[in-house]
Amino acid sequence: MLINNEFNEQKIQSPLQYIWSIFRNKSIAVMSMWAVVTLIIIIIFCHYIIPYPPSLQHPNMLLLPPYWADGSEQAHLLGTDDLGRDTFSRLLKGVQLTLSGALLITLVISILGIIIGATAALTQGIKASVLHHFLDALLAIPTLLTALILIVLLGMSFENSLLAVSLSLLPQFIRGIYICIESELNKQYLIALRLDGATNIRLLRFGILPNIIEPLVTLLNRSFTMAILEITTLGFLGFGANMEEIELGVLISQNLDLVYLSPYLVLFPGLAIFIIIIIFNVFSEGIRHAVIEGEE
């Protein structure tokens, strides 16, 4: 039983196509991709999706349970809170704010991190050395502490909490990128590229970046996860978004007093955070596996 029994003139796929063809075959990965797309749609069109304005109060419908429990209203899918505000609308609003904040942070620190990390790895001498020691010092401070300090210095607001979270996550990201590039630089093909007289930019663009996709995805995912966790933690502790801004952490802390009365109000925002993180984790795992298999 010969397998190669006809002329199989295969087209040689570009690496991206190849990775995509592997990715497409994994049902979980594709599902997570659609889930990510859905989340992004929620971010953009949140205003049109939500059934009620998030701060609209229904005075005669307080503390309704979600639709599957007894005594619920069909109109309020996930129930209402103590002021009669629709939980579902508030949840989506919270997802919008938290997720867009986290995505923004991830974008900013990935750009800054790659630039700074590459500078540290590709230059020698005093610039790299100063950067290095400074990073070492920053890495020794727990991220929550950094964020708290920055919040205290800058004042409490949602924008400042975003700034604080991104600054506190930046050192870890830079360190990750730095290690990747450093280990990549020792490889033979990069030495060859160097001997060809490639400039640092060219070295980075054609030699290093295509080969660090896999660790980069892991790093990005990690930063994103930590960003969500920290934004919500700061919100929960009352250092981030104020009470008018609807953010998942704030939602939890607002409803903390009602936890025995209506546990759903605390349960849902937490679940939302959890689901967002899981979706992005699975998505990045899918990409990572596709990249690894593509390389083999």
């Binding site: 020794a140 401070i141 727990p142 933690t233 250092f239 959890f274």
Partner: protein, 320 residues
């Protein structure tokens, strides 16, 4: 090897210097807004004060801030340590199992658990855990480190030890009371740690299982358990420990969050209270305490790695 540690120590002092600089800037920024004076003189004074152990006094209760901070951080460390033991007991066997049975059903189950554990927001889990005793009908305290009926004088700062020191007064009651208090917060922290340890162990074990010497060990006719005990464990430990070392600051971050939910008197609660009451001097002290601890632990872990792993030892010789 000795040279290496001298060098490490030298790098450590530079990092510590930068940290004091940061702490100074923060203190300066929060305390006085007049920056007209000569900054370098100020810094010099600050350093002198720190060298003499004068970190200033808390504006809340006029206690020396360093003492308050150290006691609080000792509680945090206790929490981390306890959680770490819990997590190690569960996480390492599970990770090993997943790594050995890679891509099997068990592996997927364990990895799904780990994925869930890493995605759970810590403070939310902590809230759920505070509700557990109520729902399960257990008699379990959900706030504080120890019941206020016990008067435990601070000797070491570690309540486990301190409560044992007063055992002539309360027998083991104080100790057990503290133990009950610490179980819930540390299990929340352990959920995160277990997932992390599973992930790291699985990765390390798979990497080792792919190497040639494991193939050679199979070719020698060793049984599976012999291969694991003799070759896999020893070679998988250093990368796991190394990676965990990088996670220390994250672990402390999480521990601080958990403390605030459980109002456990540790560094997190201390900072939270201080910030709420405008006692910002705590921030710069906290940086020095926590970061100092992390830096020191980094060096100790390195030392430990060198002791257990000949390959890392070897790479040091090559550096010189």
């Amino acid at each position: 090897m000795f040279n290496y540690f001298i060098r490490r120590f030298y790098l450590l002092t530079i990092t510590a210097f930068i940290l004091t600089l940061l702490a100074f800037i923060i203190e300066h920024w929060t305390a006085h807004s007049d920056i007209n004076d000569n900054m370098i003189f100020h810094y010099w004074d600050y350093m002198l004060a720190i060298m003499q152990g004068e970190f200033g006094y808390s504006t809340i209760d006029n206690q020396p801030i360093i003492r308050v901070g150290l006691i609080a951080f000792a509680s945090t460390l206790e929490l981390c340590f306890f959680a770490f033991i819990l997590a190690g007991l569960v996480g390492i066997p599970l990770g090993l199992f997943a790594g050995l049975k890679r891509n099997g059903g068990i592996d997927y189950c364990i990895m799904t658990l780990a994925l869930i554990g890493l995605a759970l927001p810590v403070f939310w889990v902590a809230i759920l855990f505070t509700m557990l005793p109520n729902m399960g009908g257990w008699l379990m305290p959900i706030d504080g480190n120890i019941s206020s009926i016990y008067e435990v004088p601070v000797v070491t700062g570690f309540l486990f030890i301190d409560s044992l020191l007063v055992s002539d007064k309360y027998q083991l009651d104080a100790f057990l009371n503290h133990l009950i208090h610490i179980i819930l917060p540390s299990s929340v922290l352990a959920i995160f740690l277990i997932s992390e340890i599973i992930r790291l162990t699985r990765h390390a074990v798979t990497m080792v299982m792919r190497t040639n010497y494991i193939k050679a060990a199979h070719a020698k006719g060793l049984t599976r358990s012999q291969v694991v005990y003799r070759h896999v464990l020893k070679n998988a430990t250093p990368p796991i420990v190394h990676q965990l070392r990088l996670q220390i600051s994250t672990i402390i971050s999480f521990a601080m969050t958990i403390e605030i939910v459980f109002s456990y008197q540790g560094a997190g609660m201390w900072l939270f209270d201080s910030i709420q009451q405008g006692d910002y001097i705590a921030l710069s002290t906290a940086i020095l305490i926590i970061s100092g601890f992390i830096l020191l632990s980094t060096i100790l872990v390195d030392l430990f790695l060198v002791i257990i792993s000949p390959t890392i030892r070897k790479s040091f010789y090559a550096d010189q």
